[in-house]
Symmetry: C2
Subunit: 199 residues, 2 copies
């Protein structure tokens, strides 16, 4: 006999699918929601439904988007002539929150990883090529993570941009090798951004 | 301007209300759900709705319950004459999963903590007194956590049971002082349970 009733089992199983949540944490979360914070459970259920129904992907920068116009692809951002390429949405948010950069973005939603079957197509690079071919961008700022795969991705991106005559920069490695961009504080990110170097 | 659109903000806020989830983790979870595992997001939303609608509390043992009959208050458990008092649902599950105990339970849903306004009424002790007065129980096994508040609660429970002529035992302190019962492995719990002593 399972130690949990069916609905409780399903709730614990669903919580376990959250990143970083193991069986004990999932159980703890379920008990907390049912015992002490049913309001939070309702709020989360509603928020999940609304998010699934209303949050899509911008066809230009690939960032999450729920309004008609993407806030990261506005005309004044395009006029900056700068395009910052990041691996994921959290990296974009880290740069927006921590630095004064207000140019365009391109979110790869991953990094090149041939062994995992993640190649240029999976990262939307054909779309990135189209955007570069439109001619409005003068500089590509490559802000992939300073990991082996992030560096390989940066190399590939640099070749794409150079082939189209763009200036290519890479954010300075103020972040430790092997680190994750999204956990870096704003001042370090600002430093890394301003210290970017031509590739 | 907030860095997140309204629905994304609401999702991150809702995830932050889960125990042990800070702002960075909440953001990471939201992005993961939206980017890589929308199926998990749907599953969690559904599970939350079902749990809120269908999981209640047993009026006898105070454990979560979704069926007509509480699995922890069955007649054969009552016939054991043993009632194990625990602080929370996770403690009950830890004892059920880790030991051979199959008597009745009473879940306090907390511990005595006068400074936080948690007294006997908040822990359902009037209901516990009624259950003891029914006369079917011969032994109260006190399995509150080995913390200062858990010990104070144990003392209070022991007085209640002794006043009604029950044998009172406390699980052996095989668990480190200040530890949390729900994180203890089954063999340690078994040992602690079999080594219980009269209070
Ligand atoms: Zn966009
Ligand atoms: Zn019950």
């Amino acid at each position: 006999m399972s130690q949990y009733s069916p609905r409780l089992s399903r709730l614990i199983d669903a919580l376990r699918r959250l990143p970083g949540v193991g069986p004990k944490s999932a159980q703890r979360m379920a008990f907390h929601l049912l015992d002490r914070d049913r309001e939070a459970a309702g709020q989360l259920g509603t928020a999940l439904g609304e998010a699934l129904a209303g949050i899509g992907r911008c066809p230009n920068c690939r960032m999450f988007k729920e309004d008609e116009a993407c806030r990261y692809c506005s005309d004044n951002r395009t006029q900056s002539g700068q395009l910052c390429v990041v691996e994921g949405p959290a990296d974009l948010v880290a740069i927006e929150q921590g630095t004064a950069y207000r140019g365009r973005y391109f979110v790869l939603m991953g990094r090149l990883s041939p062994l995992d079957g993640i190649g240029p197509d999976e990262l939307g690079l054909p779309r990135l090529a189209e955007l570069l071919d439109e001619g409005a961008m003068q500089e590509m700022i490559i802000a992939t993570n300073p990991t082996v795969e992030g560096e390989a991705t940066a190399y590939y991106l640099a070749e794409m941009a150079k082939a189209r005559g763009l200036r290519v920069t890479r954010i300075a490695q103020g972040v430790p090798m092997g680190g994750e961009l999204e956990y870096v504080d704003g001042s370090t990110l600002t430093h890394a951004l301003s210290g970017r170097r031509a590739v």
